[in-house]
């Protein structure tokens, strides 16, 4: 039981190797195989949940030496295999296990080169788990880069007509972000030492050490008493900015979001689901896990900027969604808007805001997965996603319309469904910020509420155009049957989860609350250590 996390990470990676041995002619075995692995992971996840205790520390941790290189007078470079869970990563890992299982079921209709597809899915699976569990910055980076590769191929080979363009755009964009992060990792490596190693200088990537500003090597590039400036800012502030830009690309935040609509429109449905529900979360996760705790001074200094980018993303994404003619593009832009909320909550550095941000990450995972599955249902029937080509679907596809209503209303923040809790907490936190810590002006929270209005606008308008009115579909020979069993099995658990986490938020907040409290407390504590 001590190695549950490793089982979770390496089961799919090992399975990918085993899968390579199965001949490609055994066509349908691969999907059953992938589903089996997902079921095993669900079992492991249940065991993890049973072993998890609600307190603010890390749990189920595993530490093994990984790289240890003696560099003579430069000290020792040390990277560890260090995985663990806390109140931030537990919800994310649980979400990943669930979403990937559903994505595998959604991949049932893939015909083209099944072997390649499902093996790439398994690699993606393992890399996602690894990234969410890793507490060593280098290990995180390796897992994280590792997952871009299968993603690139999955979009580039199994995608829509403009898949090459989309996949290259996706890859270049995220690679740019990764390079910015890598620069900071190198600087961090040069500046942090392992306090447990005694007199020997050991450079570490361990997150627990990096969160503590006492471990900064005096006189190093990121040391707190360094007065060197590069342009207007010190190196520490630059490092925060680089991390912020790097993770903002993944989030994605305006104006670095343009890869998202293209990637979503071209990606096959299951990949869109994983992209929206899980990959976008790495942006916010990276900020919460690395950028904010390591550079609390930067986080406070740039909180206005982060909040502003958040508000702009909320409104800008919503406006773009309102004028999108393609359903999938609309949903992609709505993701930009919802991730803007996460940024706003984070920027406030209040317990409410941070709790809301994590909750929003989780609920957006559920809801966006549902939204993309819904577009997939339509696309499977007609190979067309233009809103104007549909009308009156509600009278032909009754069950489907029910799920659409749940997904749309959850996304526009109807109370009782999961989207509401996160957004309300973020708004409370953002508004509170001026009074509590003076970081964000009040107008940001007020402008952000208009995101809720615009959200209602584009979803209801879509329902009015596509689902209400007399039935007509402008695609010849399209049979608009209601949901089949497979689609039902995918959508039902997500709808139930959206309802469950809207009505009983405490089940999730039990995990998030201790984390958020400790996060805010520790952040201000180390900020006051850095700038007394």
């Amino acid at each position: 039981m001590r190695h549950l996390l490793s089982y979770l990470i390496f089961t799919p990676l090992l399975a990918a190797v085993v899968g390579l041995l199965i001949p490609a002619t055994q066509k349908n075995t691969f999907r059953v195989f992938a589903l089996l692995i997902s079921i095993i992971q669900i079992v492991i996840m249940v065991l993890i949940a049973l072993h998890y205790e609600h307190h603010d520390g890390i749990q189920l941790s595993e530490r093994l030496p990984w790289i240890s290189m003696d560099l003579g007078q430069w000290g020792t470079m040390k990277a560890e295999y260090f995985v663990a869970l806390d109140g931030l990563s537990f919800p994310m890992v649980a979400l990943s296990v669930a979403i990937i299982s559903i994505a595998v079921i959604s991949s049932w209709t893939i015909e083209k080169n099944q072997k390649g597809y499902f093996i790439l899915m398994l690699i993606l699976n393992g890399a996602i788990m690894g990234s969410f569990c890793a507490l060593d910055f280098l290990l995180f980076y390796v897992f994280f880069e590792f997952l871009l590769l299968p993603m690139y191929f999955l979009i580039g080979i199994w995608g829509g007509p403009r898949r090459e363009h989309a996949s290259i755009k996706f890859f270049l964009y995220t690679l740019l972000g990764s390079i910015l992060i890598l620069i900071v990792i190198i600087a961090l490596y040069l500046s942090f030492q392992d306090p447990t190693s005694g007199k020997v200088l050991v450079h570490t990537f361990n997150m627990l050490h990096m969160q503590n500003p006492e471990n900064i090597i005096p006189g190093s590039i990121l040391s707190i008493d360094s007065t060197d400036l590069l342009g207007p800012y010190s190196y520490r502030l630059w490092a925060f900015l680089l991390l912020f830009i790097g993770f903002a690309i993944k989030l994605p935040a305006v104006p670095l979001h343009t890869w998202l609509p293209d990637a979503h429109v071209e990606a096959p449905t299951p990949i869109s689901v994983i992209l929206a529900a899980l990959l976008l979360k790495f942006g916010a996760y990276g900020l919460l896990r690395f950028a904010y705790p390591i550079f609390p001074d930067g986080a406070i200094y740039f909180s206005w900027l982060v909040g502003f980018v958040g508000v702009v993303s909320i409104i800008y994404g919503a406006l773009n969604a309102l004028s999108s003619k393609d359903l999938k593009r609309l949903i992609a832009y709505s993701s930009v808007s919802h991730m803007g909320f996460v940024l706003l909550g984070l920027a406030s550095i209040t317990v409410e805001g941070v709790t809301g941000a994590v909750y929003q990450m989780f609920s957006h995972g559920i809801i966006s997965a549902m939204l993309f599955l819904i577009t997939g249902v339509l696309y499977d029937r007609t190979h067309d996603r233009l809103i104007a080509n549909y009308s009156g679907l509600a009278s032909k596809m009754k069950v489907f319309t029910g799920f659409v209503l749940i997904a749309f209303f959850a996304s526009l923040g109807l109370p009782g469904l999961a989207g509401f809790i996160g957004e309300v907490m973020i708004l409370f936190g953002a508004f509170l910020s001026q009074k509590a810590n003076g970081l964000l002006p009040i107008w940001m929270a007020i402008v952000a509420t208009f995101g809720l209005l615009l959200g209602a606008g584009y979803y209801l308008w879509t329902i009015q155009r596509m689902f209400y009115g007399p039935f007509s579909v402008k695609i010849p020979a399209a049979e608009m049957n209601d949901l089949n069993h497979r689609e039902y099995v995918m959508l039902l658990p997500l709808a139930m989860a959206a309802l469950f986490f809207g009505v009983l938020p405490q089940t999730l907040l039990n995990f998030i609350n201790p984390f958020a409290q400790q996060f805010v407390e520790a952040l201000f504590k180390s900020a006051s250590f850095i700038n007394p």
Binding site: L172, Y173, P255, T258, Y316, L319, N320, L322, S323, S324, T350, V351, E352, T355, G392, A394, S395, F409, L414, P415, G416, F420, I421, V424, M425, L427, F428, F431, L432, K435, A436, A445, I446, T449, F450, L452, L453, L454, A456, G457, L460, W461, I463, Q464, F467, Y468, G469, P470, F471, P505, Q506, L509, N513, A516, Q517
Partner: protein, 644 residues
């Protein structure tokens, strides 16, 4: 004033009042298509049980202290948000009204919706609405109240769009939800202010001393914006006339009796939150709404739209009363209005239903909701006529009806509030009197053209089914003041509680208002006696340009959104693409230089080596003569070098 519930019975009753309608909705949604006909019966029965429970609850708690019960919903930052029930006098009366009207509307719908294709959806949403409305009335935490507030809006959205295949219904439902959302943003901002100052949103525990007056006023105004949206106040009222696209029983329940009254109810619930300035804004908004609504009702031709404008006007009247220190009268009027307006809508529904049946076999398309196509119906459908007349009398405020009592009370209390010195308050009072004058006029106009004026069409009509007549009868009886003002059943607590709401009204005001009523009715009679209704009055009918304004706002936002989208696709994306192309261009340049410059130099060196090689190679050509020649030349050079 509050105490935790000690008797488990009250708690269980309260919980069952709340959950039975939800259960009814669930039953409707899980029932199979084959047994769809069962859902009206089952849900009506369940709603009847709800009503019984609410009555028991009322008697159980009665006039005693308010009871609260709460349990934690979720916690953040060590503040626990508690889901809490607040059972006080106002709340419990409201619970009874909601469950009774809802039950009657369910019963009525059995007949009205009998031929509908989507019974399950209809009764399911009706049950869900009742659940949300009861939750709104009973919850004491403002965040939970907000949740139910939005859920009520959601069910209203679904029910307005019940016949979604009609474009108008689809549009009206979207419009209703969006305009409500505008108000809800205000509500949410109000909650944000309260949270940031108090860290607690429970009405019973608001510690208002810690919050500066400016912020308290702002919070009050923001929450009032929510009320403006939900209770159809100026300038967000134009969704309500459009909402009449929904089935008529829905209009009776949601858009007359309960949901739109929720805003007024909220004002009473959080009265302690309002400062002087907030109350000014509330009373002025209410007055404007009351007058514009009454004028609007004078110029409509669609029965349901007349009633919708009348609802706007009456809601404005209540809001004005609350802003002008007549909260008690406002609440009483809310209760009375719920019954007589629901009765009017059910009557209108009966007329529409009967006319539809009558025109069923005829050719052509006659708009049966248009009062110009009606007339002389009093003999054809006498029972509908009687119930409609009773409710109209209550609306107009005739003596011996419920409307009269609450109107008197409001006017009296407002008179005390305004004082003797002249101030802006007199304008509000003037507004109130104008509304009491206009209300009988439009009521008379409506009744006259439906039941008395000569009909253009002569058709055979039959009365509506018994379930519909029964619910109309019950609801109109409750509008008669006899049942609630006199005390024939003195033992019943209900009367005692209600009686405590009736203070003495001043005789002068009673006299004055009766006089105004008489003037209004007489002048209306002579005005409309020989009057022919012309075509639509273009000047006033399109919702006083508010429709135009909100459509324009929507178009503006849409245009802006399209512009933003263009910017996104053509500017930001192009810049990013441009950067990539720039990089590709640089790569081409370096590639070219690599191929032609770097590679050229290397190749050049290779070629030169080759050239030199071939020259030297040509020297070694194997001819004795040339070897001798080169040897001689070499020797010559050597000698020359030694010599010099």
């Amino acid at each position: 004033m509050t105490e935790t519930i000690h008797s488990a019975a009250s708690l269980w009753l309260a919980l069952s009042v709340l959950t039975i309608p939800l259960f009814s909705a669930l039953v409707c949604f899980v029932i199979s298509e084959k047994f769809a006909w069962l859902s009206p019966m089952v849900s009506s029965l369940l709603l009847f049980i709800t009503f019984i429970c609410s009555a028991f609850l009322f008697f159980q708690v009665g006039d005693s202290h308010a009871l609260t019960y709460s349990w934690p919903w979720f916690s953040v930052n060590e503040n626990i948000i508690r889901a809490s029930l607040l059972l006080d006098k106002h709340g419990l009366i409201m619970v009874m009204v909601v469950s009774l009207v809802s039950f009657l509307v369910h019963l009525y719908s059995i007949g009205y919706m009998a031929e509908d294709q989507a019974l399950i959806r209809y009764f399911g949403m009706l049950g869900f609405f009742t659940f949300a409305m009861l939750g709104l009335v009973m919850s004491s935490n403002l965040l939970i109240l907000f949740c139910f507030w939005e859920l009520v809006g959601f069910s209203s959205y679904r029910l307005i769009g019940h016949w979604y295949e009609k474009q108008e219904a689809a549009k009206a439902s979207t419009k209703a939800f969006l305009i409500n959302r505008v108000g809800d943003l205000g509500f949410l901002i109000g909650l944000m202010i309260l949270w940031s100052w108090l860290g607690n949103l429970d009405i019973t525990y608001l510690n208002l001393e810690t919050i500066p007056t400016f912020w308290l006023t702002t919070a009050g105004v923001c929450i009032f914006i929510g009320v403006i949206g939900k209770s159809a106040q100026f300038p967000l009222f134009h969704w309500l006339p459009d909402a009449m696209e929904g089935p008529t029983p829905v209009s009776a329940l949601i858009h007359a009796a309960t949901m739109v009254a929720a805003g007024v109810f909220l004002l009473i619930r959080i009265e302690s939150l309002f400062t002087e300035n907030t109350l000014v804004i509330i009373s002025v908004t209410g007055t404007i709404t009351a007058i514009t609504g009454a004028i609007g009702a004078l110029f409509q031709y669609d029965i349901k739209k007349i009633l919708a404008y009348s609802t706007i006007s009456q809601l404005g009247f209540m809001v004005m009363a609350i802003g002008a220190g007549a909260a008690q009268g406002g609440f009483l009027h809310l209760l009375h209005h719920a019954f007589f307006k629901a009765g009017l809508f059910l009557g209108a529904g009966a007329i529409i239903h009967a006319m539809h049946q009558a025109y069923h076999h005829q050719e052509g398309n006659v708009d049966v909701q248009d009062i110009r196509n009606l007339g002389d119906l009093r003999k054809k459908i006498p029972i509908t006529f009687i119930t409609f007349m009773i409710c109209s009398a209550a609306l107009a405020g005739l003596p011996f009806t419920s409307g009269f009592v609450s109107k008197e009370l409001i006017l009296t209390q407002m008179n005390e509030w305004s004082g003797n010195a002249f101030s802006w308050k007199w304008l509000v009072i003037l507004g109130a009197w104008v509304v009491t004058l206009l209300t009988p006029v439009y009521t008379f106009r409506m009744v006259w053209f439906i039941f008395f004026a000569k009909s253009k069409h002569n058709v055979e009509m039959v009365e509506v089914p018994i379930v519909m007549r029964l619910s109309m009868f019950v609801i109109s009886m409750s509008s008669l003041a006899l049942l609630i003002t006199f005390k024939p059943f003195h033992i019943l607590t209900i009367i005692n509680v209600l009686m405590s709401l009736y203070p003495n009204t001043s005789h002068l005001i009673t006299l004055l208002s009766t006089l105004i009523l008489l003037i209004a009715l007489v002048s209306a009679f002579f005005m409309y006696k020989n009057y022919e209704l012309k075509d639509q009055n273009k000047f006033l009918t399109p919702n006083l340009y508010l429709d135009w304004l909100s459509d324009y706002a929507f178009k503006l936002v849409l245009q802006f959104a399209i512009l933003v989208h263009w910017f996104d696709r053509k500017v930001i994306d192009k810049i990013i693409n441009g950067l990539t192309y720039l990089q590709v261009g640089i790569a081409h340049v370096t590639g070219w230089s690599d191929r032609y410059l770097v590679d050229g130099v290397v190749n050049g060196m290779a070629y030169s080596a080759k050239g030199i090689g071939s020259v030297t190679r040509s020297l070694a050509n194997g001819k004795i003569q040339s070897y001798l020649l080169w040897a001689m030349a070499g020797l010559l050079i050597f000698i020359l070098w030694i010599l010099y």
